[in-house]
């Protein structure tokens, strides 16, 4: 970057589905940067374009319909335009629905921001038989208007030229647009503006008339800011608003903010008179409407939806399985090499078991995430996701969720075998904060792929005749828990009215490959970068808990002496050690010594002590200290449960795909029975999400508070449920 060039900051704003992001991608190409606005999960995208003499800095604001600011997205868009003061604002509008799109443009002009209007999707406009008189619109709006077709890259150069041209004449500063709000409001607005101006009330940040309007609209942000600035003046203005609101209610049965909206739309229709002309002959039923006749049909719609969701799921876990396996193999190979090259000891264990296994666990999710993000981007960009929400909203609303909650649930393992991490991240499609939080907190109840081996193992041992039925019932239990807990949360700690479902059904469009790839990559990269660092730290902590403290000298010496005697096997020593059933393969005495050492080391470690310490409590749910350790290990990743159980039963490494040695051991153990198995299944299904998921919850909810809540609440809930079931079964069996 050449620092001598003049930098122009341009904010891109516009309605969702207006093609704003496509235009941003076309303008900035690969040179973009994605982050989050500080403290919130709203995405912040920036990109640079270099021209001769200028450096253009584009900021892609979240899509909004209005600047009245209820959602975080709208607030971000508004605050950026006011507080960061970009040199220019480009409002990208969908030219085929100008009327609604100009609602935002008019509000930007009322703010007094220097505006360029980009009339996007001009190709669709022409196809519909609509002609737009752009010069007339430019005159009436008193701002520059550029025609674009972002999908084809048309109008890009004109837009850049206009930006540079306008930035060079910034001295011709325009005063904010003034719209008449009718005989009831105009006098009050004048009166309030006068008070605001004379006392310089908040006027360093906002235009005076705009503040008056926000007071009339009862804008919470501005009201709070005003009260903080000066209680007296704020009260005076609020009184004026109160009086006129009373008057409106009595005479017109309406509210000032409704009057304001009506007059804004009135202003827009007068702007558009003679600008838009339609060829009525060509007003045909659009393609999208035809497709909706089938795709949202009462019976066919839901069937097709199930098919689509199933395909997304299959694609993700079928295609993703190959690179997932490759990455796992790679890290397995790397770990083995490190073990072979480095001398035995703590450092080797830290690098191989702590760091490589931990990072490997994180990175092996990446292919899955990329595929799922690609699918979601496709469903979103094509317009189908909005239809899914539309069809399912009625059912999910009952449980305090939103139609869009289906995707996170399915991906998390709503069809057994998913993964909660991409599931939680898929909840980004939910714009409403309360429903999104409820979805994020309940998605980890689903039967993810890492819990499956535990269920398969226990079902094979205790319900050999009904394995499929058992797994089906587990999945049903997962759904029931997720929905009921979400209902519980939404009527207690995340209480609040349902977010309005006033939502656009955008016309179906074929997404651009470039857009899909950019979406996929930026989300994946965020995961790798942010989650990666925290997860590395936690995996080291978990490794330490299962490694320290080390066994005392005399025990190590004892095992040492055993190993020494390996050559001359003495039957007498075998009594000291438990020789596992072997399940088809013989293990040498040497291996058995090694496994026993591992078992004792694990029992002695902090994780082991926690396991033993918890036994008096967990025995109510039927768990002993060995199960406890494996469940503690399961906090790291649910895959660890089986392998830790294997170590706890001194079986050495148990392959999670073929845990037959462990199955044999459990089958013969008199402590194990069906009630313990059922209790354990319930607990594993519902207890704390694995730490990768916990990090994802923290990131997506914007707070570690909710991540901690998920760990504590889910564990308590799971334990209570398991205990009740175990104790009940004990009475009957």
């Amino acid at each position: 970057m050449d620092s001598t060039k003049k930098t122009i900051t341009i904010a891109l704003s516009g309605n969702p589905n207006a093609g704003k992001t496509t235009l941003f991608n076309i303008l900035t190409g690969s040179r973009q940067h994605v982050g989050n606005y500080p403290g919130i999960t709203v995405e912040k995208k920036e990109g640079f374009v270099e021209t001769s003499g200028h450096m253009l800095h584009f900021v892609d604001l979240p899509g909004t319909y209005s600047l009245t600011a209820y959602s975080q997205e709208e607030l971000v868009a508004r605050n950026y335009m006011i507080q960061e003061g970009p040199d220019l604002v480009v409002d990208v509008v969908n030219a085929s629905s100008l009327e609604r799109n100009l609602y935002l443009a008019v509000q930007i002009l009322e703010l007094g921001a220097p505006l360029i209007l980009a009339l996007n999707m001009m190709d669709e406009v022409r196809k519909k038989g609509i002609t737009l008189n752009t010069e007339l619109l430019e005159q009436r709006m008193d701002c520059r208007v550029v025609e674009t077709v972002a999908r084809q890259g048309k109008g890009k150069q004109e837009l850049i030229d206009t930006i540079i041209e306008m930035s060079e004449q910034t001295e011709a500063f325009k005063s904010p647009l003034k719209i008449s709000y009718g005989p009831d409001l105009d006098p009050v607005i004048e009166e309030m503006t006068a008070i605001i101006e004379s006392s310089s009330f908040l006027t360093d940040t906002y235009p005076a008339r705009w503040i008056a309007l926000k007071y009339l609209e009862m804008d919470e942000e501005i009201l709070a800011e005003g009260r903080k600035k000066s209680k007296d003046i704020s009260e005076k203005i609020e009184q004026a608003v109160h009086d006129v609101a009373d008057h409106c209610l009595k005479t017109l049965k309406t509210y000032p903010e409704a009057v304001i909206a009506d007059y804004r739309y009135g202003f827009i229709s007068s702007l558009l008179k003679d600008v838009v002309s339609r060829d009525e002959q060509r007003q045909r039923i659009e393609m999208s409407d035809h497709m909706d006749k089938f795709l949202t049909h009462r019976l066919l719609g839901p069937l097709f939806m199930v098919f689509v969701l199933y395909m997304v799921y299959t694609l993700t876990f079928l295609v993703g399985d190959v690179p997932l396996g490759l990455i796992e193999d790679f890290f397995g190979w790397l770990g083995n090499n490190v073990r072979a090259v480095m001398p035995d000891g703590l450092l080797q264990s830290l690098i191989a078991s702590g760091i490589i296994d931990g990072v490997g666990a994180v990175l092996s999710f990446v292919p899955l995430l990329m595929i799922i993000f690609f699918c979601i981007a496709f469903l979103e960009d094509s317009g189908y996701m909005a239809r899914v929400a539309y069809m399912l909203d009625r059912v999910f609303r009952y449980f305090g969720l939103h139609g869009c909650s289906i995707m996170p649930f399915i991906v998390s393992g709503g069809i057994a075998g998913g993964c909660a991490v991409p599931g939680i991240m898929a909840a980004r499609t939910l714009r409403s904060p309360r429903e999104k939080l409820a979805t994020i907190l309940t998605a980890p109840f689903m039967t993810c792929g890492a819990k499956l081996p535990v269920f398969l193992l226990l079902a094979a041992i205790f319900f050999p005749a009904n394995q499929a039925l058992a797994l089906f019932l587990i999945t049903v239990l997962a759904w029931a828990s997720a929905l009921l807990v979400s209902k519980l949360l939404r009527s207690t700690i995340i209480r609040g009215p349902a977010t309005p479902f006033v939502m656009e059904l955008p016309p179906y469009r074929l997404p651009t490959m470039r857009g899909l790839l950019i979406h996929t990559w930026e989300r994946t990269w965020q995961y790798i970068k942010k989650a990666g660092t925290i997860i590395l730290a936690i995996s080291i902590i978990i490794w330490a808990a299962m490694t320290f403290p080390q066994l005392p000298e005399e025990r190590l010496a004892y095992y040492e002496s055993l190993s020494m005697k390996v050559e001359s096997i003495d039957q007498g020593f075998e009594d000291d050690l438990y020789i596992g059933p072997g399940a088809g393969h013989e293990i040498s005495f040497e291996e058995q010594v090694e496994f026993s050492l591992a078992e004792e080391q694990l029992a002695y470690s902090y994780a082991g002590r926690i396991g033993t310490f918890l036994e008096p409590v967990t025995k109510w749910a039927g768990f002993d200290w060995r199960i406890n350790i494996s469940l503690v290990g399961g906090f790291a990743a649910k895959e660890v449960i089986i392998s830790t159980l294997g170590t706890a039963y001194s079986l050495g490494a148990v392959d999670e795909d073929d845990p037959s040695s462990l199955a044999g051991r459990i089958e013969q153990d008199p402590d194990w029975d069906a009630k313990r198995a059922i209790s354990l299944i319930i607990f594993v299904l519902l207890y704390a999400p694995c730490f990768v998921a916990v990090v994802a919850i923290a990131r997506e909810s914007g707070s570690w508070k909710w991540a901690c809540f998920a760990m504590v609440f889910n564990t308590v809930f799971a334990f209570a449920f398991s205990t009740v079931v175990y104790q009940t079964l004990k009475v009957f069996i």
Partner: protein
């Protein structure tokens, strides 16, 4: 001849002109931001499988809203 009915009661494919929007607060704001204001012509283009939400066509785009949100909107039906 014309009559005013609640938007919830409109049949699929029926057209009408919005005469009043009675909601306020967050919901009222959303409804108005999306262009549901008096004077606008709307047509019900579909209902979700469980009859709720409802899909509307406003001049140039399609919008969904729930029945309990439609309760506050009154529409004048042509040739009613």
């Amino acid at each position: 001849m014309s009559r005013h009915i609640c938007l919830r009661k409109m049949a699929v494919n029926q057209k009408g002109i919005i005469r009043s929007v009675g909601s306020y607060g967050e919901m009222g704001r959303r409804i108005r931001d999306m262009g549901l204001v008096p004077g606008v012509e709307v047509q019900v283009v579909g209902r979700a499988p469980l009859n709720d939400p409802v899909a509307l066509r406003l001049r140039d785009f399609t919008l969904t809203l729930r029945n309990n949100e439609a309760d506050h909107i009154f529409v004048e039906i042509e040739n009613g």
